[in-house]
């Protein structure tokens, strides 16, 4: 079965410093990877997904199939980045009915 691992439950970073949130997955096929973000008392929203290769709010993530990782990065953290971040995986060609989430990382940006 597929699995998503986010090793850091909590991460604190100073404003202006680089941010990296780790995500590793286990699946033998070709998954689709996503990052979702949840700001305080708001609903989850899609931040980015690997297939679109976009940069959203300064965040990027590259799928590394060799290392089975999809780490989220931002070169300069901003206070509004404080939130809960979830990495998620779905199976290729299966549709999102099999979306699997990691346990999440709470990011706190220190002013």
């Amino acid at each position: 079965a597929q699995r998503v691992t986010q090793p850091e439950k909590l991460l604190s970073v100073f404003k202006g410093a680089p941010v990296e949130l780790k995500c590793n997955y286990s699946y033998s096929g070709s998954p689709e990877l996503f990052w979702y973000v949840q700001y305080s008392r708001q609903r989850l929203q899609l931040l980015l997904r690997h297939i679109s290769r976009e940069s959203i709010k300064g965040f990027t993530a590259d799928l590394n199939k060799g290392e089975t990782s999809f780490h989220l990065k931002k070169p300069f953290a901003q206070e509004e980045d404080s939130a809960m971040y979830y990495c998620a995986l779905t199976l290729e060609n299966f549709g999102n009915e099999k979306l699997t989430f990691g346990t999440g990382t709470r990011l706190t940006i220190i002013p």
Partner: protein, 116 residues
């Protein structure tokens, strides 16, 4: 917000009572999902639906049932609530991308359920 609402937004109930949560969407999306969010577990899929009267179990379906009698509504029922079902429940829908690629899930605002 992709036209997704959940009701109620907050509920306190007692162990052993039945509880029904409602998810409503306004945009005729085919797929609808129920997740629960718990610290240390992230989001876990309870049940999902791929059409009217078509549902299937997710990862943590024990103690929950669902129904979808019309496209816009997806109901989650706890037949006899237990304290372990205290959680935040999120509904989600799937929307196909304009490029015809993989679908993206959009989430409702959540329902906070406390079972005493």
């Amino acid at each position: 917000d992709a036209g997704i609402t959940q009701s109620p937004r907050h509920k306190v109930t007692e162990t052993g009572t039945p509880v029904t949560l409602r998810c409503h969407q306004t945009e005729n999306h085919r797929y609808m999902y129920w997740y629960r969010q718990d610290p240390g577990h992230g989001l876990r899929l309870i049940h999902y639906s791929y059409g009217v009267k078509d549902t299937d179990k997710g990862e943590v379906s024990d103690g929950y049932s669902v129904s979808r009698s019309k496209t816009e509504d997806f109901l989650l029922t706890l037949e006899s609530a237990t304290s372990s079902q205290t959680s935040v429940y999120f509904c989600a829908i799937s929307e196909s991308t304009t490029s015809g690629g993989q679908e993206t899930q959009y989430f409702g605002p959540g329902t906070r359920l406390l079972v005493l």
